[in-house]
């Protein structure tokens, strides 16, 4: 046992202090990076629960002093919000289900046959500006007399959902071990049976992620609705923009409507957060 000298003592203290300082600086960095992301949503929350007097107060009031649900009631009064919600559910729901129905087998086929030229086609679809689909399809829908129905919306939303599902499923099926299917094929199963009874059940987590991502980006889509939707066929993002802003509604109800539109997406994001971080979304996904 050697007794510690004063110099060694102070060296140890200095090192400990430096470690604490490092930790505080790192915590500060985390705070600075994360806070803008959450503060905008908290501000949305705050605006939607405050009466108008508090919303236009200066300096701003951050925590509602008299929390109220009046803004949400006003949203339903000022617009047929329920109708738009149903429209959004029909359009996004159908486009997502159709995309799963055709996109999952396609992802399987492309992954198994290594048909990467088809994958590139899907990728090019991802980088084309949305408005470039809209002009020809707009004319086509007019010729077919489909304007005023939800069909143009469902069909154009396939532009978003099909590439997402195909892309995610290619990645998923590539990592799936082929042994079981090959055994089934040797035992005389058809390709379809090998897919339907072996690969598909194993790929359920991938299908769920693909469906949620397709749902989110279809739900968020604005540009198709702005061009194609009529008064009765608006989806929620278009309705929030058109109806609520044009009627010069005040901040509270507008924030409440914005919160209602984006809340389902935020919840779904939290559900598949791990998969998004895991890189499934990193490559081609994102519908804009």
């Amino acid at each position: 046992m050697v007794a510690l000298t004063a110099a060694q003592h102070s060296g140890r203290t200095r090192r400990r202090l430096r470690r604490i300082a490092n930790r505080v600086a790192f915590g500060l960095a985390v705070f600075v990076i994360v806070s803008p992301a959450i503060l905008v949503f908290l501000w949305m929350l705050s605006l939607s629960f405050k009466p108008e007097i508090e919303n236009i107060a200066y300096p701003p009031i951050f925590i509602p002093e008299h929390p109220t649900l009046a803004n949400f009631a006003r949203v339903f009064e000022a617009s047929p919000f329920g109708l738009y919600l149903v429209n959004s559910l029909i359009v996004t729901g159908s486009a997502t289900l159709l995309a799963i129905a055709v996109g999952v087998p396609a992802g399987y086929g492309i992954a198994k046959a290594k048909a990467y030229r088809l994958a590139v086609l899907v990728l090019i679809a991802r980088i084309t500006p949305n408005l470039s689909y809209l002009i020809p399809l707009f004319i086509l829908f007019q010729m077919l007399g489909l304007t005023g129905t939800l069909w143009p919306m469902v069909i154009t939303h396939l532009v978003i959902t099909v590439p997402i599902v195909v892309w995610v499923m290619i990645g998923f099926f590539e990592t799936l071990h082929p042994d079981l299917e090959e055994a089934a094929l040797i035992d005389g199963a058809t390709l379809w049976q090998a897919f339907r009874y072996i690969a598909l059940p194993l790929s359920r987590p991938g299908v769920v992620v693909a469906a949620i991502l397709a749902f989110i980006f279809s739900w968020n889509n604005f540009i198709f609705g702005v061009v194609l939707a009529g008064r009765e066929t608006r989806t929620l993002p278009v309705a929030v923009y058109n109806v609520l802003t044009f009627e010069q509604i005040s901040w509270g109800p507008l924030a409440a409507a914005a919160l209602l539109v984006t809340l389902p997406v935020l919840i779904l994001t939290v559900v598949i957060q791990r998969e998004i971080v895991g890189g499934l979304a990193a490559g081609g996904v994102k519908g804009g």
Partner: protein, 316 residues
Amino acid sequence: MTTWATLPGSRAGARDSGSFWLRVARVVGAGQRRPYVLFVLPAMAIIAAVIIFPWFFTLFMSVHDWKITQSRTFVGLDNYAQLFGDERFQWALLRTLYYTLLAVLAPLILGTLAALVFHRKFPLRGFLRGVFILPMMATPVAVALVWTMMFHPQLGVLNYLLSLVGIPPQLWVFDPGTVIPSLVLVETWQWTPLVMLIVLGGLASLPTEPYEAAQLDGASAWQTFWRITFPMVLPFLMVAAIIRTIDAVKAFDIIFVISQGGPGTASETLNIFLYLQAFAFYNIGYASAVVVVFFALIIALSLALLYVRQRSKWSP
């Protein structure tokens, strides 16, 4: 393309016309091992109808003088000629490049910093990472409306926050000089998480040996970053740059909701210009020519970045 769509989706149908469809499959790269054509066919039929058909129809429209509800006449390349002499188009093009430059660089720098932070282990990391990616998934129209309120020159919370640190109030999106940087601020807020995710994936894939060697040699954190981490994540940064470039050039929702291309035409980018030509002025032929040029610009920017990426990979 239309014959694809009309093919019956049954297995028997495929077996009867096997040789032809196998040949099709070979041409498109399928069927090297087994005929998976039928798996791919329904999705390809949809992609042909809603994605490939519009491309060719756009090319067709772009060589016509075509107004909605009026007859069309073939005009050859007149639309393109008119386009390149159109001063409003030229300004839109310049603005798009300015917007894109800012909206690529800012998220790239901040996203890399965020990735370096999230690469370390700390309490609540998973939860905070989940919070951090919310902006890129949230409905753009909804967040754009909230940002519009935050930009308000008199009552907005941003000017209040600036006043706390002694900076005079700004006009944000209401001033032609600051509208594009202000919109880029929203775009950066929204898409920094995507860059973070890509770079984080890159950091996770790096080998540990160079770091151990650097530690033995007594390298500082700064040296370790610039000499080891940065060169190794550069390919991922280039992927992020390509994705960001494509998305920034195409930006629409945020600009349309917050500034509608204004004040005046100060934030009228190509996509907004295109929207106005097609759906406000109904110049379908002219707008189609804009689409073709726009698409060519996106392809050119992506290829340029892809080229830089290959170069950066080959260099030692």
